[in-house]
Structure formats: structure tokens, C-alpha cells
């Protein structure tokens, strides 16, 4: 809500009129504008929720991402009931299931077995930050299992794997972006600052990378990774590959901005009053690229997420048994599995929701930082 004040306001000795405009930093102003953008706020909350879900995967997921179950392959999503067999409203519970068709993996509820869903239960051990714990949000007593979103062909819980996979799929976007943004800033900054033949040479190198179809380059680079790579190393390498593809475009734009900002009056003024060159760059030129960088960052994260998902989907990104939203979908590439077990498509919806939220949020950020946009 906009704060409107008609009377003068005391503020650190200065008398400020209006709504205290003098004390508002650009970031704070952008935040106020962003708060008014409803879709952007929806996107933001969805993203916060998804990231928390991924970070605390061990807590939210009833099982670990590697827990398999040979007797429950391709289990259909478990129905949660609230009405007891006697017709009374009770605490949520599930029925036990028996496999009636082992070939097609058809499971039927056995109403004689009732398993209430218990909250804050002890399950598989997992590590959160530096603590090891086995506290999980919910679960059912064995031998029953709860599959909120069904199971894959190894009997692994898709809901749990979504949470664990989010760690890779969501954070690969953010880390990849930070890396490529840093390279782009330094590279574009140097290129635009020095100009001349240095600029010429550096930009030609960047253009080589821009001119190669990015998906082909991704494929070729992922072929370089040896199959023996551990899961953490593989995650890091994929992130760096994505960053390697992404930095060149950013560098080119930042170089253009640095070039044009350098010629503006306030830079000349700063130099005229005797500012050192590093100070001019850090205090005067780079802050002017900040709003572009923030906007561009939010809008380019989905690209990273989609690239990872695409690579993992076709089997050259994150490898099984590690979960990632992309490689969870790869089972759906098999038409028989796809039509019999449509819950395999769930990770795709989650990717879609993530991308949509990022673009809502990014649009809001762009409007918030756009000085021409009306408030």
C-alpha cells in the first residue's frame, strides 16, 4: 500500500515532505512497485514454496529418493480418504493395496487394511545442513506405503523424488546463472572498458559461442563427461556447461551497456572531480547496469532449468538413480509406460509451473525496475 502523508515527517534531522521519497533507495522503490504486481507476487510465493520444498526435501518427502520397492512397481497414486468405512469423518488415512495384475501393474485398495497417515514420523535417515535426523512430515506404518503421486518403475515414490530432484533442477538454474553472470560481467566489463582491439578480439570470441546452436553445443559438451563421474561432480559439471553456453550473450549486452554509459556526462563529471578509474567503474558505471542484470537474471533462470531438464530427459544430463525433474520424465518417453502410468508426467507439470512462476515474477521485476513504467 502506498503511504501518503501530508504533514512533514522528521527524518534524521532533515524535514522530508510527501511519503519520504528522499530515504527510498532504488531497490526499495522497486520492491514497492513489485508488491503491487499481483501475478508477480503469486509467482514469487510459488517459487519460495518450491525452493523450500526442495531444500527441506528430506523433511517433506516420506521416503528417500533411492528407496525402491520391487513389489510396488508403477504403483498408482494412493487415494487419501477422510471418511471411514463406517461413514464417519476421521483423520486422513489410506487403504492397503494389493497388486491384482502383475503384468500391467494394477493395484486395488484392500478396504480391510486401514493405515492412518501419521505426521512427524521417524523414517529413513537424511541430512539437513549439518544435522542428521529421521524426522519426516508424514508417513504411514509399514508394510503400507503412501504414494501421493504414484511410483515409477522401480517403485520409487514420485512425490519424494520431486522434492529431491528439485534440489538439482531448481538450483542448477540459480548456480548456473550466477556463474555465467559473473563471467559475463567481468568479460563484458573489460571488453567495453578497454575498447579498441581488445574489445574487438574479445567480442569475436564471444560471437563464436553465440553462433553455435546452443542445444548442439550442450549435447557435445555433455558427451565429454566420463560416465564414471560421481553424482556431485556431474551436477557441478552440468552447471558449468550451462554457464559456458550462457555467458557469451550476457557479456555482449553488458559490454554494450558499459560502452554507452562510459560516454555519459556523469561519468565525465566523476572523472573530472578526480575519481580513480576503478571507483568510476564500481561506483558509477556498474550500478547503472544493476537493474538490467536483476531483470535479466530472473528472466533467464527458466532457460537454465529447461536446458537441464531437456538434457536429463534424453539421458545426457543428471543420471539415474539421482533424481532430477528432467530424468524423471524420461520414463514417459516410452509410449507404453506413458499411456499406462500417466502420473509419470507430473514432473513436467512442476517444470511448467516453475517456468510460469519465474516468468510472472520476472515480468513484475522488469516493470518494477523500468523507470518509464507507470506506478
Amino acid at each position: 500500500m502506498a503511504r501518503t502523508m501530508t504533514e512533514p515527517e522528521k527524518n534524521g534531522g532533515d524535514i522530508v515532505y510527501g511519503d519520504g521519497g528522499a530515504i527510498r533507495s532504488p531497490l526499495r522503490m522497486a520492491w514497492r512497485k513489485l508488491k503491487r504486481h499481483k501475478l508477480a507476487m503469486v509467482g514469487m510465493w510459488v517459487l519460495i514454496f518450491l525452493h523450500l520444498f526442495a531444500i527441506f526435501a528430506g523433511f517433506f518427502a516420506p521416503y528417500s529418493e533411492l528407496t525402491t520397492d520391487r513389489r510396488r512397481t508403477n504403483h498408482s497414486p494412493t487415494k487419501v480418504h477422510f471418511i471411514s468405512p463406517e461413514g464417519k469423518l476421521t483423520r486422513p488415512f489410506i487403504y492397503g493395496h494389493t497388486r491384482t495384475d502383475t503384468l500391467r501393474n494394477i493395484y486395488e485398495e484392500d478396504t480391510s487394511q486401514v493405515y492412518p497417515i501419521r505426521f512427524f514420523v521417524r523414517g529413513d535417515k537424511y541430512k539437513i545442513l549439518w544435522f542428521e535426523t529421521d524426522l519426516r512430515l508424514f508417513g504411514v506404518d509399514s508394510p503400507a506405503k503412501i504414494y501421493l503421486l504414484g511410483a515409477d518403475r522401480y517403485g520409487r515414490d514420485i512425490f519424494s523424488r520431486l522434492a529431491y530432484g528439485g534440489r538439482r533442477s531448481l538450483f542448477i538454474g540459480i548456480i548456473g546463472l550466477v556463474v555465467s553472470m559473473s563471467i559475463g560481467l567481468v568479460y563484458g566489463g573489460i571488453s567495453g572498458y578497454f575498447g579498441g582491439w581488445v574489445d574487438n578480439l574479445m567480442m569475436r570470441v564471444a560471437e563464436v559461442i553465440i553462433s553455435i546452436p546452443s542445444f548442439y553445443l550442450l549435447l557435445a559438451l555433455s558427451a565429454v563427461l566420463p560416465p564414471s563421474l560421481g553424482s556431485t561432480e556431474r551436477f557441478i559439471m552440468i552447471t558449468f556447461i550451462l554457464a559456458f553456453i550462457g555467458w557469451a550473450g550476457l557479456a555482449r549486452v553488458i559490454r554494450g551497456m558499459v560502452l554507452s554509459i562510459r560516454q555519459q556526462d556523469f561519468v565525465t563529471a566523476a572523472e573530472a572531480v578526480g575519481c580513480s578509474q576503478p571507483r568510476v567503474i564500481i561506483r558509477h558505471i556498474l550500478p547503472n547496469t544493476m537493474s538490467y542484470i536483476i531483470v535479466n537474471a530472473t528472466l533467464s533462470i527458466p532457460g537454465f532449468i529447461l536446458s537441464e531438464a531437456g538434457l536429463s530427459l534424453i539421458g545426457v544430463g543428471i543420471q539415474h538413480p539421482d533424481a532430477s525433474w528432467g530424468n524423471m520424465l524420461s520414463e514417459a518417453l516410452n509410449l507404453t509406460s506413458l499411456t499406462r502410468y500417466p502420473w509419470l508426467l507430473v514432473p513436467g507439470f512442476v517444470i511448467f509451473i516453475t517456468v510460469l512462476s519465474y516468468s510472472f515474477f520476472g515480468d513484475g521485476i522488469r516493470d518494477a525496475f523500468d523507470p518509464r513504467a507507470q506506478t
Binding site: 553462433s211 558427451a223 509410449l335 511448467f352 516468468s359
Partner: protein
């Protein structure tokens, strides 16, 4: 203008040197070489392997391999595909038509659909149809093409929509008459084309809408209206022509990615194009095929860029290249 075009063409040469050496370097980083998979086979003796190594210069240092490869490339030979046991140029030429057919048909459809929708949306800004279209476009941009493809596959099979899933032709394609062949191809193309078209319609429509909205706010539109021109003339003769201009850049980009842009969709929808070829090549460490694909894809991108720059200069008199 002519000198500019010549210079741009000459500029492609150093770019290609950069692109080819980068891709060669990347393939050198990969563990093992193209014959590693073959060497595991008990059917192939060491003598044969060594002979092949010598024939394809795999026993020489990387820079010599690169030079030999470039020398061959200049003669129009892109090397040998170890997966297909055939020249790379032949393998690629088998697939290039399939990819181009799919992408060019979808691009044409996308423009035919997106431009009128964009115009309609901008002219009737904030009407219910505009709001609906903008909302649908937002979803269309956010949904990954391959996921949309998977969804379509699911509904096609489970609802029995009768479209073939995967492949490009039926098994008995050779026995068909000409028109049967066309119909068969059309049926197979339907799903992948729908996926690709939907993806680009959403993006194009949003561009067209925002461009036209920008133009409609400009002074010359007000002037045209003040002269008493009809709404139709103002919009179609004055505003739309100016609003389409910036889309030329997008057209150039689409032209450039005709070969490489649909790779994931091709793989997911099982279309025998360049994209699936590239995936197989990468998985099978088929170096020369990978390099060939990278080079051809890059040349297309560069040419698409060049064409869009030239078109921009031709259509917009304010742009001058010395």
C-alpha cells in the same frame, strides 16, 4: 550495401575457423576416441583397428587431425561416420530434408496464425478476447515444447485420436501412390508440427501485440487519424507495416534455427531429423558426425542473422550500412 554484404560474407570465414576449432577441441576432451566402442568388439581385430586409425589419422596429434579434417572439408568432404559406416555428408543429407520440412512448415503456419492474432489482440486491447489470447500465449511460452509433445502423445494414444505417433512414414510407404504418400506424410507430421507451431505462435503473437501497441501510440498514427483516414487504413497501411518491421530479426533467427531449433521436439516425438541424428552421434562418440552437425547448424545460424540484417536494411530506410 553490396560492399557490406561482401564484408559480412568474408567475416564468416574467421567465425567458421573459430567454431570448428572449438568443436574439435571439445571432441578431443571426450574420453576415448571414435574407435573405442569398436575396439571392444571381439569381431574386429587389432590390425583392422590400427588400419582404421591410420586411415582416419586418429594416430596423429590433435592439431594434425584438425588440419587434415579442414583440408577435407574444403573439398566438400566432412569425414567418415563410424556409426553409419558412411560419409558424414551422406548421412546428414539423408536427414536434412526431414528436419527442414518439419520446421519450415511449422514456421509458415506460426506466422500465418500469429500475426493476425497479434493484430487483433492489440487493436482490441483489454477486450475479453485479448485477455484470453494473452493468457493462452503466456502459457504457450512457458510450457516446454517437449512436454507439450509428451502430453499430446499421451492424449493421442489414450484417447485413440488416430494420428501415428513417431516416425515419418508408414511401413508400406513405398507401395503408396503419390497422393497416398502425401496424406501419410501429413498424418505423421501433424503432431510434431502442432507442437512446434504452438510454441512459436505464442511468442510471435506477444511480440506482434506489443510492437503494434507501441506503434499505435506514435504521433504519425494520430496524424493519420486526424486526416480522416478510416480505421482500417490507419491500422493496416500505417501501423501494422511499422510494427512488423522489428519482427524481421525474429524471422532471421527462426530461419537460422530451421535445422537445429527443433532438436528436442524431434527426439521426443521420434521424428527422424537432424536433432535425433545429433543425439545418436554424441552418444556413439561419432566425432566427425558431431562436428559436421555443429558446423552446418552454425552456418545456418550465421546466414539467418545475415539475411535478417539485410532484410532490415531493405525494409527500413532509416537503417544504413556503410
Amino acid at each position: 550495401m553490396f560492399r557490406y554484404i561482401v564484408r559480412r560474407f568474408l567475416y564468416i570465414i574467421p567465425m567458421l575457423i573459430g567454431i570448428s576449432s572449438l568443436s574439435f577441441f571439445i571432441m578431443q576432451l571426450a574420453p576415448g576416441d571414435a574407435l573405442t566402442t569398436m575396439s571392444l568388439s571381439p569381431d574386429i581385430s587389432d590390425e583392422v583397428l590400427n588400419a582404421m586409425r591410420a586411415r582416419f589419422w586418429l594416430d596423429q596429434p590433435p592439431h594434425m587431425q584438425y588440419i587434415k579434417w579442414v583440408q577435407q572439408l574444403l573439398k566438400g568432404d566432412m569425414g567418415h561416420s563410424f556409426l553409419w559406416h558412411a560419409p558424414v555428408t551422406w548421412v546428414i543429407s539423408q536427414r536434412i530434408f526431414n528436419s527442414l520440412l518439419l520446421t519450415s512448415v511449422s514456421t509458415v503456419f506460426a506466422w500465418i496464425i500469429a500475426i493476425p492474432i497479434g493484430i487483433h489482440s492489440a487493436v482490441n486491447q483489454y477486450s475479453w478476447s485479448d485477455k484470453l489470447l494473452t493468457f493462452v500465449a503466456f502459457i504457450g511460452v512457458a510450457i516446454p515444447t517437449w512436454f507439450f509433445g509428451l502430453l499430446l502423445l499421451y492424449f493421442t494414444v489414450s484417447r485413440g485420436w488416430g494420428f501415428p505417433v513417431g516416425g515419418m512414414t508408414s511401413i508400406d510407404f513405398v507401395d503408396f501412390t503419390f497422393w497416398e504418400k502425401v496424406a501419410d506424410l501429413g498424418k505423421h507430421m501433424f503432431l510434431p508440427t502442432l507442437v512446434l507451431t504452438t510454441g512459436s505462435v505464442a511468442g510471435l503473437m506477444r511480440y506482434m501485440r506489443s510492437n503494434l501497441l507501441d506503434v499505435l501510440r506514435q504521433d504519425f498514427v494520430t496524424t493519420a487519424r486526424a486526416k480522416g483516414l478510416s480505421n482500417r487504413v490507419v491500422i493496416y497501411k500505417h501501423a501494422v507495416r511499422n510494427a512488423i518491421n522489428p519482427l524481421i530479426t525474429i524471422f532471421g533467427y527462426q530461419l537460422g534455427s530451421l535445422l537445429s531449433g527443433a532438436a528436442l521436439t524431434e527426439i521426443v516425438m521420434n521424428w527422424p531429423g537432424i536433432g535425433s541424428l545429433m543425439l545418436n552421434a554424441v552418444q556413439g562418440k561419432d566425432y566427425y558426425l558431431v562436428m559436421g552437425n555443429l558446423i552446418i547448424g552454425s552456418v545456418m545460424l550465421i546466414l539467418g542473422n545475415l539475411v535478417s540484417d539485410i532484410l532490415l536494411a531493405v525494409s527500413d530506410p532509416r537503417i544504413r550500412y556503410e
